[in-house]
Symmetry: C2
Subunit: 200 residues, 2 copies
């Protein structure tokens, strides 16, 4: 298996292949597409890559991504500042914001506590969350970390730190997905769904 | 459906989304990945995109992509110059070269004749193929355009032009794929496979 190689092309294929979920064949197809783009479009693609790196920073308050000092959510005057929703990654904020009904503030941890990956509480933005709570008048913290072992553990860790501060700590509800069918739910989810049942 | 937007990030998501086969969710995941890359890696990705545009040109002889005036295949002294394999796109050369057993030359048409898309014989590199054949001592032309209606029509068109020049024109064999099962082959393929049967 040898093959015809053109250095700049192979190089771009390699770059695409390093992206998550992109295999060799797809990487080749994408590189071909780039090759066929008008010059200005290819340049604006390259610029977009550089811009996302140079212009995006973490909000000084909530650590969400932003291109300003303080993100638009933290700046907003209509947002409920006394409720902070804690998430793992900036993309979680985007997902939650998409439903549009959460008029709360956020705090992005940028990871979870994970012994396996050697990530301790000091390596994610927990300290910053605590100092926010000390300074601002926070009534409730909603833990919205992922329902994984590590997400759970991180939520538990943070909630233990918050209890002495007399703050209400809540967790997103577990249960069967809307539109799903009971028989396809796993047992743990079903168990949690049962525990979290509510009166109708 | 609104959502939290950061201009440089949304911009990169848009760029990824314009790539073939990449939807919104994947585009977001890729943009996140880029956001998390070390600066030098992001820069080399951007450079790779610019390089593929600025450094790659068409070989003066066969119109395959190359970063030199003449591609390595046309330059090679061990290649059989009297057999030219005609393909639609540069990627077809890469695919054929991967099997490694084709020690032939190529000619890349960069498209097919297509009435629907308004592409006539003059808009693909047919003229250049003919002048190559006039100048070089070509004995055989292998038509390796795709087995589509347009690929077929283009192959037929070219073969009619070549016949008066007293050149052997061949076509890649049609048939059932190796490892495939008869019952999954479509009828036309099976018909062609029967027509092209050989003695064992």
């Amino acid at each position: 298996m040898s093959g015809y190689k053109v250095a700049p092309f192979s190089n771009l294929v390699d770059k695409f292949e390093m992206l998550p979920g992109i295999g060799r064949k797809t990487a080749q197809r994408l590189a071909y597409f780039i090759l066929g783009l008008p010059k200005d479009k290819a340049r604006s693609f390259a610029d977009a890559i550089l811009d996302v790196q140079s212009k995006i920073k973490y909000c000084k308050i909530c650590k969400n991504i932003t291109d300003e000092e303080i993100c638009s959510i933290c700046k907003s005057e209509t947002r409920e500042k006394s409720i902070i929703c804690v998430v793992e990654e900036p993309k979680d904020v985007m997902f939650l914001e998409r439903i549009g009904s959460m008029e709360v503030s956020y705090h992005v941890l940028h990871g979870v506590i994970s012994q396996i990956n050697g990530i301790g509480p000091d390596q994610i933005y927990i300290k910053e969350l605590l100092s926010r709570i000390e300074k601002e008048n926070v009534k409730e913290v909603i833990m919205a970390t992922n329902p994984t072992v590590e997400g759970e553990a991180t939520a538990m860790y943070i909630s233990k730190l918050l209890k002495p501060m007399n703050i209400k700590v809540t967790r997103l509800a577990y249960g069967i997905p809307v539109g799903g069918e009971l028989e396809y739910a796993d047992e743990i989810t079903l168990q949690r769904s049962l525990e979290g049942r509510s009166e109708i």
